[in-house]
Symmetry: C2
Subunit: 365 residues, 2 copies
């Protein structure tokens, strides 16, 4: 199963909105077939592995990192093909979290005289599909908030200089996270201040990974989502004129002629402010599994207050900017007095070039 999970990871840049799945077929202690899912519409991991195994599938054991599909999507359901393949045992890391399918294939296969074993390295399989699992279970995407700060928790100087607070190594590391996300979300303020591209620069990501033919050919730029409640974004900004789709999140449409990749998405507002929880539920309906947020202190603070962030990733640069510089979070309400209404825990800390990257999991109380 460990090997199957390693295989599944190969799809981390390309399978969305589908999950990463890996599959190994073992006959007489010999691997006779293996496969991983690469992209929506392409063959599922189980089918690739069965095709490779051919007649050696008969009497073998299949290890697969997620319950095989039981529905007709882009491809026919796997469970029928597995049943017919002649395998006699299937080991499944974890059930499909989709409430419509969960457990269906498992019962079907068990009723087809195939020995079924489940919950083997279930957490590891969930870990590589955090976004898929969260969306299936809650309708919401898995949301990561990226911040870059000085050691005194400042994101920009008093004059707004922020672009180069963190190192080139950290900026490369960010490319890797962006590439794994279905969407990159920011605010119109950030676009107006920094005019970022918000794209993945593939050439900056570890070559051994990204130059694999399958990934290079199938990689799509994440959707760029800009919260723009006051219709400030025009089509001359860098983030508009790039490959990949752009969602402008607004409370009413404007009548500009936008390029074909740009879509205005209209959401509810209360007191001219966009209802963030509703927005993220809406983004879930667009089959967005993972959202990578790069925003300023106001939106970052709001997303924390609204309990939308699943993971914080902070790059700390060895600089001091002082008390007049821009803060990491603007938080209006209830955080001021301990005890906090969120409990945070550090899940990872490591050096990235001259910087430190800390990963933080919030638990909302």
């Amino acid at each position: 199963m460990k090997k199957a999970i390693e295989l599944a990871k190969k799809g981390e840049f390309t399978t969305a909105p589908n999950p990463n799945v890996g599959c190994i077929i073992v006959n007489n202690n010999e691997i006779v077939g293996q496969g991983w899912h690469c992209q929506t519409g392409k063959e599922h991991a189980e089918i690739i592995a069965l095709n490779m195994a051919g007649s050696k599938a008969i009497g073998s054991t299949m290890y697969v990192t997620l319950e095989p599909c039981s529905n007709f999507g882009h491809t026919p359901p796997c469970f029928n093909i597995i049943k017919k393949s002649g395998i006699t045992k299937i080991v499944i890391a974890t059930q499909d979290p989709n409430p419509l399918n969960s457990g269906k294939s498992i019962s079907f296969l068990a009723n087809s005289n195939i020995q079924v074993k489940i919950n083997i390295l279930a957490n590891e399989s969930k870990k590589i599909n955090k976004g898929f699992f969260k969306r299936m279970e809650t309708g919401l995407p898995f949301v990561q908030l990226k911040l870059g700060a000085s050691i005194d928790g400042r994101t920009a100087t008093v004059h707004g200089h922020s672009k180069w607070i963190t190192s080139i190594q950290s900026r490369k590391d960010v490319q890797y996270y962006r590439a794994k996300s279905s969407a990159i979300l920011s605010s119109s303020n950030t676009i107006l201040n920094d005019n970022p591209y918000l794209t993945v620069r593939l050439e900056e990501i570890d070559k051994t990974v990204m130059l694999q033919k399958e990934i290079k050919n199938t990689f799509k730029q994440p959707i760029r989502i800009i919260i723009d409640s006051q219709n400030k974004i025009k089509n001359n900004y860098n983030c508009i004129n790039q490959q990949g789709n752009v969602f402008l999140i607004r409370t009413k449409k404007d009548c500009h002629k936008w390029p074909a990749n740009v879509q205005q998405i209209i959401v509810k507002a209360t007191n001219k402010k966009i209802d963030l929880k509703n927005l993220f539920l809406l983004l879930g309906t667009y089959q967005i599994n993972n959202i990578w947020v790069e925003a300023g202190p106001t939106l970052s603070g709001l997303l924390i207050e609204k309990k939308i962030i699943d993971e914080l990733i902070i790059y700390i640069s060895p600089k001091i900017l002082g008390h007049t510089s821009k803060p990491l979070f603007i938080i209006e309400k209830t955080l001021k007095l301990p005890p906090n209404f969120i409990k945070l825990s550090f899940t990872d800390v490591r050096k990235i070039g001259p910087d430190i990257r800390i990963t933080i999991k919030p638990i909302y109380l």
Copy 2:
């Protein structure tokens, strides 16, 4: 020499103002003597090792982590005793940094037909005596600044609550640093706000280390140094009525009747502000090797601006306090625009209980 350095470290809580020194005597590949310096006035490492070796010192090699002393202090100079001991070779990690003595013993021993080898693990020996080396070379103590902060770089809530931002594990870790310091420095503001004891709670330090008989019997509370330019401190504060000396740093004496452990030290002031660089030079003349600073954002900012800090130790707690909370550094002048006039680098990062401790070395440009 590695073993000699390990021995030397045993004195880290007790030798100040003397350096940590370890010594091993080897005869025919057998350790015949070893020793470490424990406290001013007690025998030096070399003498303990020679006493243990007895006649086996004849024809042996001595490994010692610092150039043996050549002056009459509390004890007679070691170099004469070494010469008479019959050892034929001496390996010295590094020269004595004291300009009055540096190289003296080395020439004396070399002229006494003892083979002398120097600069073996010199950096390791300097590392365990940072304060001693810095004071000998510059007249200034080695100064560590301790800070506790939330992930957004805040030291206290808007209401001034700061005491429990970091965890019990971090506070224990602080005890260890305090214990290794000759002095703990703070400001009258911190005393007035938090009324801390600023003592070492020996029982909180790793028992295997602190319960060693030598340490328990010889340990002295670090001097508590309070910068109190406006004579705000009275004798009812916790830091006054504890074991160990207190220095009140003032611009003029008051006429209170202070307990015997309290000393008012008068320093120059410009525009009613104490000249910090001069203060630290003065503290050097009191034979203070290491100062551990625990202060608020104003003094912390000033010490950075004045280039006095040699090492920053920040405990980051997994909390968010928001933009209205107290900052880590109040910095008035020149730090606002990049490039910074100080270059910082992370020298260590690790988890301490639920917190992260980062160690930062500033290089002043």
